[in-house]
């Protein structure tokens, strides 16, 4: 017992001081209010949470985050799954073509934002491609209708290959004989995918769904670098809203309340995953 604790002590100190205590501080701080006039801090209970749900900026940010999540997660997973199927087929050059899709996972989010910020310019690469195809110039980041989609594209560029790797790892665990048996029964390629691949991919798919959802709740760098939440609040996702509330508006207590809501949503998503995975095992 003493020996085990000696081995565990450095990690426990680190986890407590760097993860759990700040989380506890956020809980406490979210229940307080610091007056801007007197600088005095008082206990307000759930007051900050009530204030948040009356705040149109917060409500707009929840709406944007919801729309963003409902588009980006299914999109990334569907594309990752389709590409996992495509790049596990057997034909010449498949491995090197697959690595081209995986290549962008080495790109840090800030770098992806820097590259795409130039690509989305009126005289950037994308408009040049559109011009060749005979499509008129697009506003991209300056349009309230297109800005969120621009973020979705740059995040999918670095995300799809990553999630595809998890699905390919899962597919390689499926026994060959199952496909051979299905082939003898005369199953079409589509039937094999639907009745063999998909059911046996349940675990990795559930993991990817949750991990992708969580990581997309935490998107920050591209928003801060490309759109600053705009135009007209159309890209003001939760993490950016928290950041502006804490450092531009300067209400740290209100920001901590929003942090708590985000943590609760993330934990709920993860618990649903555990339920999904336990359900059939």
């Amino acid at each position: 017992m003493k020996v085990a604790l000696a081995f565990l002590a450095p990690a426990l100190v680190a986890l407590l001081a760097l993860r759990l205590i700040p989380a506890a501080i956020a809980v406490g701080s979210s229940l307080r209010h610091t007056s801007l006039v007197t600088g005095e801090t008082s206990f307000v209970g759930l007051g900050n949470y009530v204030t948040l749900f009356d705040d149109p900026t917060f409500l707009q940010s929840v709406k944007v985050t919801l729309v963003f999540s409902l588009i980006v997660n299914p999109l990334q997973i569907a594309v990752a799954l389709a590409l996992a199927v495509l790049y596990t087929q057997k034909f010449a050059g498949v491995r090197s073509l697959r690595s081209l899709v995986i290549l962008p996972i080495a790109v840090p989010p800030a770098v992806s934002a820097a590259i795409w910020s130039v690509a989305y310019r009126p005289d950037g690469m994308l408009n040049a491609v559109l011009h060749v195809l005979g499509i008129p110039q697009q506003p991209f980041l300056t349009s309230p209708q297109q800005a969120l989609w621009c973020l979705i594209v740059l995040l999918s560029w670095i995300g799809v290959g990553y999630w595809m790797m998890f699905l390919i790892a899962g597919m390689q665990d499926i026994p060959r004989e199952l496909y051979e048996a299905a082939g003898i029964d005369g199953a079409s390629a589509w039937a094999k995918f639907w009745h063999v691949t998909l059911p046996l991919l349940r675990r990795p798919l559930a993991f990817v769904l949750v991990a992708d959802t969580v990581s997309n709740f935490l998107v920050f760098a591209p928003v801060q670098m490309l759109t600053n939440g705009g135009p007209q609040g159309s890209t003001n996702v939760t993490m950016f809203d928290i950041f502006t509330r804490a450092y531009s508006v300067g209400d740290l207590n209100l920001a901590q309340a929003e942090v708590m809501l985000l943590v609760l949503v993330v934990l709920a998503v993860v618990i649903v995953q555990f339920r999904l995975l336990r359900a059939k095992d």
Partner: protein, 261 residues
């Protein structure tokens, strides 16, 4: 050969932004063109980066990431050992704490932690940048999974031979666990290399600036030097790419372990 054409087109689409960034980084100053092959390729942008503040930022990023890997691995491996080789009462509670700590996303608690770090006078220090990478529950989890597969008889035999617990850890577990150490190390490296929210909140003076922040600041100026912006993007991508390629097998393996177990 429909699927081969499709696979080639998709692959090309994914590689295109990087190719474009690479070719733009080799262009002379001032011209932002869209052709993929620059007329007179030059390394001028890279040289200008090195002599400017960006070289310092890359060195800072490397220092922070490597220190995190070394110290973080030592801490995580010891903890994983305490959670697998030795049995004790309350182990499940401690393990639950580890799992809980990595279920709380780090970026979400960065703001309360930054307030704490300012109280501890850690702003503008390397320690302030390195520390958050050390409490990494996922690294402990990955190593523990691997350690659990080491047979208990081996430990008993070593104990009978007179090896202490530290000896078992350092001379038996660590040498056997190279692949797991590499994949946990990669996790720690990538965590620090890609960090943006935390260095933005804590490290603000130029002496301690990290690569991604320096890159983002290049865009904040009135005139943007696109050649240098792309050269910086290429440098910040090539370094982790080289490391991932070098340890490709372990990287794929760690993906399979996290996703399936």
């Amino acid at each position: 050969m429909l699927r081969r054409t499709l696979a080639a087109l998709v692959g090309l689409a994914f590689a295109l932004p990087l190719l474009w960034a690479l070719s733009s980084s080799l262009r002379g100053t001032g011209n932002l063109g869209n052709s993929l092959i620059p007329a007179d390729p030059t390394l001028a942008n890279y040289l200008a980066l090195l002599t400017g503040g960006f070289g310092r930022a890359i060195a800072n990023s490397l220092l922070v990431a490597l220190a995190t890997v070394l110290i973080g691995l030592a801490i995580s491996a010891a903890a994983a050992f305490g959670l697998s080789a030795i049995r004790f009462k309350g182990q499940a509670v401690v393990f639950g704490l580890v799992v809980l700590s990595f279920l709380i996303p780090f970026d979400a608690i960065a703001i309360p932690l930054a307030t704490l770090f300012r109280d501890w006078n850690l702003q503008n220090t390397y320690a302030g940048l390195i520390l958050p990478g050390l409490g990494h529950g996922l690294a402990i989890f990955l190593l523990r999974q691997f350690f659990l597969a080491i047979p208990a008889e081996l430990v008993e035999a070593a104990r009978i031979d007179g090896l202490g617990w530290f000896g078992v850890f350092a001379r038996l577990y660590l040498p056997l666990s190279r692949p797991a150490l590499v994949s946990a190390g990669l996790t720690l490296f990538i965590f620090q290399w890609q960090a943006y929210v935390w260095p933005l909140l804590i490290g603000t003076d130029t002496a301690h600036q990290l690569g991604p922040i320096a890159l983002a600041n290049m865009r904040g100026q009135f005139t943007i030097d696109y050649g240098q912006l792309f050269a910086g993007s290429v440098v910040l991508t090539v370094i982790p790419l080289a490391i991932i390629l070098r340890f490709q097998r372990q990287f794929t393996q760690s993906i399979a372990t996290t996703g399936l177990k």
